[in-house]
């Protein structure tokens, strides 16, 4: 059951893709609840993800690194909803010039490697901050991703939380792979349920002496019934008529 905010964010992100003329609607929709849960999740009225939309460069903030490039419109929608001053014209790749975007990147698995470096800096400086990084499952096919994953475990980067959006289930043992490298793995049962997602983030924050992987099995085009799990919508840009139909479903 989607919350009003989840519905609103879906529509905003899809409209953004339509406006930009660039995007991957189905792949983006699998991630949107994971980002929403991070930015809006609370524990006893305290933010799980420390941030201040009116002070994007606040020194004590936590960091969210978007490695999964297809989810960028979802991040923009969440940032705008959260109160960041998101510009009118938005870049099609993550860029640090946009308030709330921490890393400039244009290639797969780049954000993941950056996030490991940032968590390493946090450890070196003994800062009380966390780095959350969203990666797509396909990014784990890159050698550099596993190099970074190994480095994070060897250096016991407990302030690093990697969220793996598994929207294309394969017969591979994600949990065993990460655990064999020395990571803690938290598997979500329903990666579109806010309570489940927030619970995962809370547990990740408490992990000591090892990095955490949140394994999030998601659905492509989640929340848009006529497109869910249909590959033809994975990289689609919805037409005006389709957007109207989605609006009537969601709102």
């Amino acid at each position: 059951m989607m919350s009003p905010r989840q519905r609103e964010l879906r529509l905003a992100a899809l409209e953004l893709i339509s406006k930009m003329g660039h995007g991957h609607s189905g792949r983006m929709l699998s991630s949107i609840d994971l980002i929403e849960g991070l930015y809006f999740g609370k524990e006893n009225e305290r933010q799980i993800f420390k941030h201040k939309p009116n002070m994007p460069q606040w020194e004590e903030r936590d960091f969210f690194v978007l490695s999964k490039l297809e989810a960028l419109p979802a991040l923009y929608a969440v940032l705008a909803k959260d109160g960041y001053s998101v510009p009118e014209v938005l870049p099609v790749f993550p860029n640090r010039k946009v308030p709330g975007v921490e890393v400039t990147t244009e290639e797969h698995a780049y954000g993941l490697c950056m996030a490991v470096g940032m968590a390493q800096a946090i450890k070196m400086d003994r800062l009380n901050q966390h780095v959350f990084c969203l990666v797509g499952d396909y990014e784990l096919d890159h050698g550099k991703a596993w190099e970074a994953i190994m480095t994070a475990a060897e250096n016991k980067l407990e302030r690093l939380c990697l969220i793996v959006d598994e929207n294309d289930p394969r017969d591979w043992p994600i949990q065993e792979r990460f655990e064999s490298f020395g990571w803690k793995v938290i598997k979500l049962r329903d990666a579109h349920d806010t309570d489940e997602i927030v619970y995962g983030y809370m547990k990740a924050r408490l992990t000591l002496r090892k990095p955490t992987c949140i394994w999030a099995p998601t659905k492509k085009s989640a929340g848009v019934p006529f497109a869910e799990r249909k590959p033809e919508y994975d990289d689609a840009i919805f037409s005006e008529a389709e957007l109207q139909e989605i609006k009537s479903i969601l709102i």
């Binding site: 990147t105 244009e106 490991v116 470096g117 550099k144 991703a145 190099e147 190994m150």
Partner: protein, 114 residues
């Protein structure tokens, strides 16, 4: 020589971090002895080390990369202070400290060693 030189410079540049991808052992024994917390040995992991250096540099660090596999220093964010050390017949250590402090990513040529 480069090991000693960087160890000396790191005393003055407190935010200098060294990433060494030498295989199988690290090349910078003196540096590691002096600043264990500022030395990362990532054997043969050049493809991730260059980007990871960008993440460290996001926190105001000057990150030095050494080892095979770094031919250039192409980072999409030109504000990151990442320097690649490359051995070259025309390399020099005279201006190394100033070059390390200079803004942005760059390749610095150092003398070849046996």
């Amino acid at each position: 020589m480069i090991d000693i030189k960087l160890t000396q410079i790191a005393l003055k540049i407190k935010n200098l971090i060294l990433i060494d991808v030498s295989f199988p052992k690290g090349r910078f024994t003196e540096f590691k002895k002096a600043y264990e917390n500022r030395y990362l040995h990532m054997p043969c992991r050049a493809s991730s080390a260059g980007i990871l250096a960008g993440g460290l540099s996001n926190f105001g660090k000057v990150v030095v990369l050494y080892g095979d596999g770094f031919n250039d220093c192409n980072l999409p964010d030109q504000t990151l202070n990442v320097k690649v050390l490359k051995e070259d017949a025309e390399g020099s250590l005279i201006t190394l400290e100033e070059d390390l402090k200079a803004f942005g990513p760059a390749v610095l040529l150092i003398p070849e060693e046996d």
